[in-house]
Symmetry: C2
Subunit: 413 residues, 2 copies
Amino acid sequence: MKKNVLIIGAGGVAQVVAHKCAQHNDILGNIAIASRQVAKCEAILSSILEKGSLKVEGKLSAHALDAMNIEATAALIRETESEIVINVGSAFVNMSVLSACLETGAAYMDTAIHEDPAKICETPPWYANYEWKRRQACAEKGVTAILGVGFDPGVVNAYAALAQAEYFDSIDSIDIIDVNAGSHGRWFATNFDPEINFREFTGQVWSWQNHQWTSNKMFEIKRTDDLPVVGEQTTYMTGHDEVHSLSQNLNVPNIRFWMGFGEHYINVFTVLKNLGLLSEQPVKTAEGQEVVPLKVVKAVLPDPSSLAPDYTGKTCIGDLVKGRKDGQEKEVFIYNVADHKEAYNEVGSQGISYTAGVPPVAAALLIATGEWDVARMVNVEELPPQPFLNLLNQMGLPTRIRDEAGDRDLVFS
Amino acid sequence: MKKNVLIIGAGGVAQVVAHKCAQHNDILGNIAIASRQVAKCEAILSSILEKGSLKVEGKLSAHALDAMNIEATAALIRETESEIVINVGSAFVNMSVLSACLETGAAYMDTAIHEDPAKICETPPWYANYEWKRRQACAEKGVTAILGVGFDPGVVNAYAALAQAEYFDSIDSIDIIDVNAGSHGRWFATNFDPEINFREFTGQVWSWQNHQWTSNKMFEIKRTDDLPVVGEQTTYMTGHDEVHSLSQNLNVPNIRFWMGFGEHYINVFTVLKNLGLLSEQPVKTAEGQEVVPLKVVKAVLPDPSSLAPDYTGKTCIGDLVKGRKDGQEKEVFIYNVADHKEAYNEVGSQGISYTAGVPPVAAALLIATGEWDVARMVNVEELPPQPFLNLLNQMGLPTRIRDEAGDRDLVFS
């Protein structure tokens, strides 16, 4: 049984991960948090103590770490005797943290695909550019690496695996729909790191259609759905991690990702993009200073973690799956609805961070108990979904299903 | 008779000034151009030679100059034996260039109010903050200083003086209307230095109403007029230099400035302003770099001088004056219409630069001949308007008038 967790990163998602680990420290053991800014780690530990989140007495520690430094990361894993690493730092550190896990034998998890700061939207499937090149190394060393185990990617991959196993003989399409119907009350803000947020939308939109990669422009294709709780919502086809693994791991001809955007977000995004202010390439001012415009945009926008106290409303994220069962056409929507205010009251983060931060802790529990400790690199759809969704039902992210039999909680015996 | 002209600045307006000086170098003598970037000065001189703009054989020279350096500027005035300085550099250098003129006795002209880089929209009347503090010094040294002698401010001040002298017994209101109905074909661009352009609109809007200063927000108050040539146009009440001198020099209760903006411009401006990207105060990026957001916005926008070749359409700028004459209510619109393409063909700049750059050369000719060589500091409305407008009629900016007698050229005998 693996135990002792090292959390890499100290943003809003790390805050949720830390709180949820503390709530299950009878199984997970010691909790260490590491980030470039140790003060942010210490603030998270204080908040755990303030909210009384520790289930049993336990060791908490904060560490300054540059996670691009493999040796320093490996040394910290050893020093803290961590057997599970939950990487919720910047998307630029995935490969260095994975290397440290390969060196130490610790289990590895992340919630978003690896990115090279200088490249936007690489060739599909994205996982083949970095992560999957380490598959063999993980298998050889018996290292468990679970890629993309946040909500989306992550829980939605488990929803897809569940649909295939339980509800369909054959699937024609999986449309993953992600709507944040909440409100932060600011003129404009991104819900997570603006740099990562905008990078997600400045490239081309890759989708999997008729068994092949299809490219579109951002905001080119939209749909409107009447969703549970949040009602009628317009979403836009968006490039997203899970399309790049589900397309390879499931035999499904159409897999698309849809994200909800208000007209205001689209307008601000369009202005910034068309002016060149979202560029990751440096420009030179009239005074000769070299500056990356996107980093200046990040500097003027609200810190996403500052939004949590005033955030109200709900998110709805799920898989709309269409196919055939017993010779009949069938359609199910498997989903979760999360509430920003409830998330803030429980762990001090808003709902977007909550949906991303709870699943890796559920996965850590399944690694600790051995159920998901598979000693190789996997995406979430390659693992049995029921124990994962079962834990999430208890941990604050209940699964619901809407199909011809109605709209109900999905409970596993 | 004064002669030999030093032009400070090497942007689109300086290009027009240089060409127009060359076209009248039989009166104006040698032409020197100075800017921080001497290559830009040299490019202007090349364009003068290419277009064959010199009326008679004459001396042209390009100089590297930091116009914030008073001693260097005075030395260049002496070295080039310039008796007239046309300052069309950045609005930050007005006071240092004026100091150099006071030191050397050269006549001084500019086309926009002095600005302190760290301050936005100071207390009205703006001229009292910097320029008018040097009135006495100019009078004592007998230095001619003509403030704001572009189109607006400048020609519109002469229109106001003309209206008062020739068409009214009493004036109730002067509404200066500035519409650019041209198109540059880019997604977004400013017609002159983006830094100066945006600074103009980020503060409060000062207007002169019922004999007192009134403050509004930008884009708060608009009007729609059916204008000559350009047709129906919506303009917004805007803070602008000429309101700050006309209100003090003419006994008119209402003086307002209106500028035309399309919805697209307003949207881009609003996004940038609300995000904090138009701020002149530095911010710090996550990496610790100190950056002034407005300077980054300037760096990503098209260079205004690059717009000229593709610019089409017309500008319409004029004074709508209402009052009484011989006991009757009366209304006149005194205006000019300029064409972007014609300006480019003649001098290689677009219409906005053309309307700003031709008037100071007309003023230089009036200083050279003595008519406007008043040996003190003045705003344009304090000078006889007819010789100035007469010259402009011949130099490419004809004055027209629309009143109860129709719409016609305004010609002076």
